[in-house]
């Protein structure tokens, strides 16, 4: 009796699996539906809102339009497109004209319609940009980075004409209009539902009021987001995909398995090892773009602790196992940042002149007074890459008498920890949206001591050069300054660049039209499925 019952259970177990395969085959819309798996999804639909998570950029990108967008250029190794930072094209703007004094820009809007059916007007653009500079938090900070600082700068001339007045000449103003912050809301819809809040924060957090290529059909925070195509999109070629399902799958193994077995079309955010394996196996396409203006670096505190002594910072730079890290931690999915030329190029990031040289490092440590113990921290959220990296660093530093204790800081705490600026060594990856060396150094080494100046590096000479470069009008001047300040940080090494990581995406062979965006979120508008 027991056996027959067990057999019955076994039958019951197997049955749903068998039948399911028939069920999935019958789905007719599969070729127009894209299944994307990512680690976690948006926590809001409003990228301008406070506390929005990284994936909200994707919502902003696909469901809203901006005045301008970055121009796609082919990825050198093939596989899709990335963007050219200096080259912009119109999104909502049909055309734009820089004033002759270079202190304003006038935009002519397309005949675009919001999802509500209402035409997009300059008033909507003004309300949206006003909102971005006023709402506070990250959105406002990002706007300020491009010298977009106050509502008075934005002028709606008529329904279809819009002007931005500059407060100063800033080469980042125009590119900053193409990032995922200054997107355009349906201001009437928003105000109507605002419940008295001038910026309709609650409404926009949970609802899309845009004109973008996609609408959000369903959003289950932490579970999935379903996008459907807006057939009336006016700002570009109509996307091929009708429906996008973005599922949140925390486990990277599962994400890998899904893409490998063909159940998912696109998988984001896998560990480098998986991208390498998938690329090697060749069953799916892996497209990797070295993240512009992104680098894994070891920050050495220049104000507190042992690394005040520049010799020790240099010693560390001479002893890091760059190649081992690239192979064992990033599995080759990155660009080595060691062994660069003595004379830098006007580019960022670029290899520093250091490479693994134990004798040199020992000499420097001896000169600085010998070995000691210290701690190395990193964000637990980055553990997949940072943990092996830190273990290798610990081992390497052990060889020159520096004993390292590794501290894995939970994500929630990491920002607090780096804000303290007391930890001697921090391993972190920082990437700037706007691909300019001065932009990167402004955030990470400038004396204004932003939270990302983890090394707490203070050098008025460097500050002067960075500021000069930011607002430099002349290209030659600019490049000269850049080379100068890179030479300085080469010498001073408050941050030792280790690798420029690759931003990888794994896709089925049937998927085409991959477009890399600086916000690193998937751009559905260009994607195709065979």
């Amino acid at each position: 009796m027991a056996i027959t019952r067990r057999a019955a259970i076994a039958g019951g177990l197997a049955a749903p699996f068998v039948i399911r395969q028939g069920a999935s085959a019958q789905a007719p819309s599969r070729s127009e539906t894209l299944l994307l798996v990512q680690e976690y999804g948006p926590n809001s639909l409003d990228m301008q809102g406070i506390g929005s998570s990284q994936p909200v950029n994707g919502v902003a990108l696909n469901c809203y339009d901006r005045l301008l967008r970055f121009k796609p250029v082919p990825i050198p190794g093939g596989g899709g497109h990335q963007v050219a930072m200096g080259e912009l094209e119109g999104e909502l703007a049909e055309s734009w004209q820089l004033a002759s004094d270079g202190m304003s820009c006038t935009f002519k809007l397309r005949d675009a319609k919001f999802h509500s059916g209402r035409p997009v007007s300059a008033r909507d653009v003004k309300w949206s940009l006003d909102r971005a500079v006023s709402i506070g938090g990250f959105a406002t900070t990002q706007m300020n980075a491009g010298s977009l600082e106050k509502p008075e700068q934005f002028v709606a001339l008529d329904d279809k004409t819009f002007r931005i007045d500059f407060v100063r000449k800033d080469k980042m103003t125009m590119p900053n209009l193409a990032v995922t912050i200054p997107f355009v809301f349906d201001s009437e819809l928003a105000i109507k539902n605002s419940g008295g809040d001038p910026w309709a924060k609650d409404f926009l957090k949970n609802n899309i009021a845009g004109s973008g290529a996609f609408r959000v059909e369903s959003w289950k925070p932490g579970v999935e987001t379903i996008y459907v195509r807006n057939d009336d999109w006016a700002c570009g070629k109509r996307p091929q995909l009708r429906r996008i399902i973005a599922r949140d799958i925390a486990s990277p193994s599962t994400r890998r398995a899904l893409i490998e077995r063909g159940d998912a079309d696109i998988s984001y955010g896998l560990p480098p090892k998986d991208f390498k394996d998938l690329a090697d196996a060749g069953k799916v396409n892996v497209v990797g773009v070295p993240i512009p203006n992104g680098v894994w670096g070891l920050y050495l505190n220049a104000q507190v602790g042992p690394f005040k002594d520049v010799r020790l910072r240099q010693a560390v730079a001479w002893v890091l196992p760059y190649d081992k890290i690239l192979q064992a931690s990033l599995f080759g999915r990155g660009v080595d940042m060691s062994g660069g030329p003595e004379l830098p190029k006007p580019a960022w990031p670029q290899p520093f002149p250091y490479k693994t040289n134990l004798d040199k490092a020992k000499e420097l440590v001896a000169a600085a007074g010998g070995g000691f113990s210290t701690t190395l921290q990193f964000d637990a959220g980055n553990a997949t890459v940072a943990e092996p990296m830190s273990v290798l660093i610990k081992e390497a530093l052990g060889a020159i008498g520096i004993n390292v204790e590794i501290s894995k800081v939970p994500g929630a705490n990491f920002r607090t920890e780096i804000a303290k600026k007391t930890n001697p060594m921090t391993l972190n990856r920082f990437a700037g949206w706007l691909d300019y060396p001065d932009y990167y150094l402004f955030w990470t080494m400038h004396g204004n001591n932003s939270i990302f100046n983890i090394a707490n590096y203070q050098n008025p000479e460097l500050d002067k050069m960075i500021d000069a470069a930011r607002f430099a009008g002349d290209r030659a001047d600019y490049e000269k300054t850049v080379v100068e300040f890179i030479k300085l940080v080469n010498r001073e090494v408050p941050m030792i660049p280790i690798s420029q990581p690759t931003h990888d995406v794994a896709m089925q062979k049937s998927i085409g039209g991959y477009q890399f965006q600086p916000c690193r979120e998937p751009d559905f508008r260009y994607l195709t499925k065979a």
Partner: protein, 337 residues
């Protein structure tokens, strides 16, 4: 019986209050500055302070606590910063998923463990007994996340029998109209056998993972209880009266042995709710466990408090249900109460 329930409720009030206070304090001790975290990467100290004020985190602890309790009384558990939704809504959305998984897991475990425990007790000392013990113990010795990964690897990745571990329902099915929130039940109510099969296929592996984990305590308890009962005088009387072994074991022994087993079910359930957290993470199950873990990592107080409180209430409710069940089985409790 009513009296019993009332008395039980009375004793649980202090522990619920304790849970509220402890959770509140614990979440406030959590490292990480929520304001800094949500102010975004490039925030200035002023921006952080502004957000801190907005979240009420600049108030002294007692003030924050009073505000929290006030909101709680009105059924407001606050807002999750990670999902951006009210915690109540999030929990309502996700709780059925966790409950369905845990209960289904428990059901599988019981379906296997009870006969196994009875068999082990009836054949005490035989190879079946030893096998039961080894199998059950091996199950509880496996870390749930490891079991989950292995099952996914074997059944999904290698054999391809199981569907992709993508949550509660295959992507190309739509959820049945929500009645109970349990997909297995809702799909039956809606008469959608295909959806039912799809949901069943999704839930099997995670539920199995949980079941493997909870097999041991239930088997162990069943075996021990059966052994105790089988050596009891009334079983001897039943045997001496010539009752068939089916009646003796099934009606006389088993029902009596169920009494201690039922009480351990509460323990096992609490145990499973903990294990759930890890299983949900592995199987991308949209339940409250994974929700709580993510909130914890993000120092997001409100969901943690809401989650813990919900679990505490659930636990109390479950224990109450067990007391009632106990009363149904045992007339001594029912009549003397």
């Amino acid at each position: 019986m009513l009296r019993l329930i009332a008395a039980r409720l009375k004793t649980t009030i202090p522990s619920i209050l304790g849970v509220i206070v402890v959770t509140f304090l614990l979440t406030r001790v959590l490292p990480g500055d929520t304001a800094a975290y949500f102010a975004g990467p490039a925030a200035t100290p002023q921006a952080i302070a502004e957000i801190r004020g907005k979240l009420g985190l600049d108030q002294p602890l007692p003030v924050q606590f009073v505000a929290y309790v006030k909101a709680l009384v009105q059924g407001d558990l606050g807002q999750s910063l990670t999902t951006g939704q009210p915690v109540t809504a999030d929990l309502a959305q996700r709780l059925p998923a966790s409950a369905e998984l845990t209960l289904f897991g428990l059901l599988i475990a019981m379906a296997v463990a009870l006969p196994l425990g009875v068999l082990a007790a009836v054949r005490q000392g035989s190879w079946i007994d030893h096998l039961c013990r080894v199998v059950a113990t091996a199950g509880v010795s496996l870390p749930v996340f490891f079991t989950g990964l292995l099952l996914v690897y074997v059944f999904y990745f290698i054999l391809g029998w199981a569907p992709a571990p993508l949550g509660r329902l295959d992507v190309f099915f739509s959820e049945p109209p929500r009645v109970t929130g349990f997909l297995l039940i809702d799909s039956l109510i809606a008469r959608e056998p295909e959806t039912f099969r799809a949901a069943l296929a999704q839930i099997l592996l995670p539920a199995l993972t949980l079941a493997i984990f909870s097999l041991a305590p239930i088997t162990r308890m069943t075996r021990a209880a059966m052994l105790a009962v089988l050596s009891a005088d009334f079983v001897r009387t039943a045997r001496a009266s010539g009752l068939s072994s089916r009646t003796v074991i099934g009606i006389y022994a088993f029902r009596n042995a169920m009494l201690p087993v039922v009480t351990t079910l509460g323990m096992v359930f609490s145990f499973l709710l903990g294990a759930n957290v890890l299983v949900e993470k592995v199987f991308a199950w949209p339940g409250v466990g994974s929700y709580a873990v993510e909130a914890l990592i993000a120092s997001d107080y409100a969901p943690i408090q809401g989650f813990v409180l919900t679990m505490a209430i659930l636990y109390v409710a479950l224990n109450l249900a067990i007391d009632i069940l106990y009363g149904v089985i045992d007339p001594r409790v029912r009549l003397e109460g």
